[in-house]
Symmetry: C2
Subunit: 221 residues, 2 copies
């Protein structure tokens, strides 16, 4: 299985790489990433949209999602907006929207709405204060819950509670599983590589000395 | 684009779901996840292997990866081992190993090595104290750096610094990007759905008013 040539880098080898190589390598090592657009508003209700690729499931009870933000938050607008207004949205991206989504990472001036700059449509749902992305098939509205400082590099983990979620009805299974692949959600690796997915299978809950079973996708509709 | 029927769940709707439905839905909403095996040892050098799906890139300088662990760490062995010995490994999973990887989540007794139970091979590299998974194409050795408590639900974010990384030489690009898809790394969604990936493209660094370009994969060998 491993007749191929393998490389072994130590921490010293990694530290000796050029900065771009180091960043590309380390960003790839954490595996495939969740990538989505965060919509937010500032105190003057100016809307903002930015791509993030560091989402993580934090817990189901209460239902919440986290994401890691770099320390230079003053240069960007998403985290200050979230801390100021308390609300934001997470919008999955698909093959139809990933180019616009990636383009939101360009450093537009503060008075430019990335929705306008990349041509995506802000959508307001149920009086929720932050804009959703109309083109996203899975849209989540969150209320800010906790800001967790990470000492070793000054990044922060921002955690929000899910207040609203909108999704295609035909992607929901009887057991609550939402088929995000069927909804067209993409994944990314490194900083800039976008990927479609292809399901192998869902696996049953593992127990000692029991053979795993395939869980058929039992859509509600 | 959205002629399909859409569902809108509020927080109240989510809270009214059965527990299994709630857990399956919320675990899917955070998007595609990084999934990998963590190898560790206890103070008596007994080896342990467990699957996690909550890895997140924390930073490149220093090079580090985080993962979220549930609060019931006493029932499991990975986090106590990491806190006790200071070292652990992260091993990507592929189509050849995902069944064994998923099976490590079964609650084996403390004196059972999951390596033996699921038939994966522990590999020790460069005197690193924790076991790697020989069958994994991307193997990472980490030193524990920081334990970040999350107040809202008692979970913790464990962060480690990358000390060693072993990978197939033909997956490394000139700019440091590691092609984890070529290495066979899988992604997962929800708690139990495993997926292959298929690259659309790598995109250039975004700048205002510039058209994004495809970055060709420029392998070193």
């Amino acid at each position: 299985m491993k007749a191929e040539t393998r490389l072994h880098y130590t921490l010293a080898d990694i530290m000796n790489l050029e900065k771009e190589q180091k960043i590309n390598l380390i960003n790839a090592l954490s595996g495939f990433k969740s990538v989505a657009l965060i919509g937010s508003v500032d105190a003057e209700k100016k809307i903002n949209l930015a791509i993030f690729n560091s989402f993580v499931h934090v817990g189901s009870i209460p239902p919440c999602i986290g994401f890691i933000s770099r320390p230079d938050i003053e240069e960007r607008h998403t985290v200050p907006n979230i801390l100021k207004t308390g609300y934001y949205t997470i919008n999955h991206i698909s093959e139809e929207t990933y180019l616009q989504a990636h383009q939101t990472s360009a450093r537009y001036p503060k008075d430019t709405s990335e929705f306008d700059a990349v041509i995506l449509t802000p959508q307001f749902i149920s009086n929720f204060p932050a804009p959703f992305v109309k083109e996203s098939s899975i849209q989540i509205g969150l209320q800010f819950m906790e800001q967790v400082p990470i000492k070793i590099n000054g990044t922060i983990l921002i955690i929000g509670e899910i207040q609203h979620v909108c999704f295609p009805a035909d992607c929901l299974c009887e057991d609550g599983f939402l088929d995000i692949e069927k909804a067209g959600t993409l994944t990314c690796s490194g900083l800039d590589s976008y990927h479609r997915t292809s399901r192998i299978q869902r696996l049953s809950y593992a127990k000692p000395f029991e053979v795993l079973k395939n869980i058929p996708l039992d859509y509600k509709i």
